[in-house]
């Protein structure tokens, strides 16, 4: 039922990409994305090169193209915006399929579309090959404040519990004949929401009590060593270095 719905981005496996320490992958994805963003939009071949690089990573990680494609849906709002741009932007017009569109807008739309797609695909590959909680360990190693990673870890753990409570409240409402019809019913839903907030808050207090009872003193004990070797950093650097080369070439090209 609820199983897997919080981890549907992750695709378990045991490939070289899966085995890389999370902090290496995080830095690699960030560097790759920066290289992509810094590339001039007119150099289409560079973007094709980036896509080929990602396809290579996906192949090594045994992540099928369909898996990535289905998760690209998050990008839809950007795509809509990018598609609109050629029609609303100013500047000289060009004919595309018999419709006059702004040339500037066309480039701007392509720019957003290409860069967002590559960034999203890289992030999806990262999420597919790294368990969420391991990702948090990586962030912690990259000196992300422990308080933030702890909050995120608790969110992962308790998302299902809170969703379960919300569903029980919905069933309880429905069992007493409540059907949300129009705006006036928002009041009932708002009250349910505040009750859910209170319950979650109280649970937080109880969890904290349980943590104190087992010797918690403000710091989570480090239970897994995710230290990365030089070789692992070097392996993770392949993708961003290749991207950086492409970007440099794109700037140098006449």
């Amino acid at each position: 039922m609820s199983a897997g719905h919080t981890h549907r981005l992750h695709r378990p496996g045991d490939t070289p990409v899966h085995r890389l320490p999370p902090q290496c992958k995080l830095v690699a994805v960030l560097a790759f994305t920066l290289a992509v963003v810094a590339t001039p939009r007119e150099r289409m071949w560079a973007f094709a090169g980036y896509a080929a690089l990602l396809a290579l990573v996906a192949a090594v990680a045994r992540v099928p193209p369909g898996f990535v494609a289905r998760r690209m849906v998050v990008e839809v709002p950007f795509v809509l915006f990018a598609v609109l741009l050629p029609f609303v932007a100013h500047g000289p017009r060009v004919e595309v399929l018999g419709v006059a569109v702004s040339q500037n807008g066309l480039w701007a739309g392509w720019n957003i579309l290409a860069k967002a797609t590559l960034g999203a695909a890289a992030t999806i590959l990262l999420a597919a090959t790294t368990e969420p909680r391991v990702l948090l360990l990586g962030l912690e190693r990259l000196r992300m404040p422990a308080l933030l990673t702890q909050i995120a870890a608790f969110m992962l753990r308790y998302a299902d519990v809170i969703v379960g409570e919300a569903q029980r409240m919905r069933v309880a409402r429905a069992s007493r004949g409540f059907v949300a019809r129009d705006a006036r019913d928002a009041k009932v839903l708002a009250r349910s929401l505040s009750a859910l907030f209170l319950r979650s808050y109280e649970r937080g207090e109880r969890v904290h009590l349980a943590m104190l009872s087992r010797g918690y003193d403000g710091r989570m004990p480090v239970l897994r060593d995710t230290a990365a070797s030089r070789a692992q950093w070097a392996a993770a650097a392949v993708l961003p270095l290749a991207a950086a080369l492409l970007m440099t070439a794109a700037w140098m090209a006449p």
Partner: protein
């Protein structure tokens, strides 16, 4: 000073509560002078109606609540809320299993959750692995070590919750309503596990047959004081006493028959 002067750690009772009184900051007085001594290896049930102060008492046992009158000592070590190191040792010695396992299991996997307590005590490496494996083995949950707690059944989660405190090698195991929400099979399995453990147990419960099965001795906490302290079956046979403290045997349960079965 943290150690009380009288008994040595070997002969000291697991738990010694003296004249414990406590009022919440809002003025509600919950405990009015509780006296309770539990010897090493004993299994004692703490019975009492809702609002009797059971939870308040439990939270005093490891120093989460403090500041009232009276003293609590665990294995001869007196709780002093001002002494951080002493408090850490107290929390190692007193393992509390809370009522809702979802409150107790907050780490991403079962293994990490069981390791949380001993790791906070500074245990690392092979010794930590040994503690985690040992604790999970004792509750029969070693095969789910790498699963996230939210994917376990309720009964499994309660057993893992017991393992999380066993890994701290406690002097006394304190269970808050251990049989609540368990189905009959889960209830029996937990009883078998608790009986197999070689550790002092204080079990807070409304489940009188469970108390009869697991704990030779029972105390009734009512109105913030210990109102009765006797062998469980004797206590359960005293209908007037039970009625007086809003306790009731389930339909069809006969303490005399239970006594015969427990022989």
């Amino acid at each position: 000073m943290t150690t009380s002067t009288t008994p040595s750690p070997e002969t000291a009772p697991s738990l010694e509560v003296r004249d414990l009184a406590y009022a919440y900051p809002d003025g509600t007085q919950a405990l009015f002078g509780v006296d309770l001594t539990i010897g090493r290896g004993e299994r004692v049930a703490l019975l009492g109606p809702n609002g009797a102060g059971k939870t308040t008492l439990v939270l005093h046992l490891n120093g989460i609540l403090a500041g009232g009158l009276g003293t609590v000592s665990v294995g001869g070590l007196r709780i002093d809320p001002g002494d951080r190191k002493g408090l850490r040792e107290i929390r190692r010695r007193v393992g509390i299993v809370f009522q809702d396992p979802d409150d107790q299991l907050f780490m991403p996997t079962v293994r990490e959750d069981v390791a949380f307590g001993p790791a906070n005590l500074g245990v690392r490496g092979a010794e930590l692995d040994r503690r985690v494996t040992g604790a999970l083995e004792r509750v029969g949950m070693l095969d789910v070590a790498d699963r996230p707690p939210q994917h376990l059944s309720f009964g499994q989660r309660r057993r893992v919750a017991v393992a999380t405190v066993l890994a701290m090698e406690p002097e006394i195991l304190v269970l808050d309503e251990p049989s609540s929400n368990l189905d009959p099979a889960g209830r029996r399995e937990l009883a078998e596990i608790l009986l197999s453990l070689d550790v002092t147990v204080l079990m807070v419960t409304h489940d009188l047959p469970y108390a009869a099965e697991l704990c030779p001795r029972s105390v009734i906490l009512s109105g913030g004081v210990i109102a009765a302290d006797a062998p469980t079956l004797e206590l359960l046979a005293d209908g007037d006493l039970l009625r007086e403290h809003r306790l009731e045997l389930p339909f069809g349960f006969d303490p005399a028959a239970a006594a015969v079965r427990l022989r």
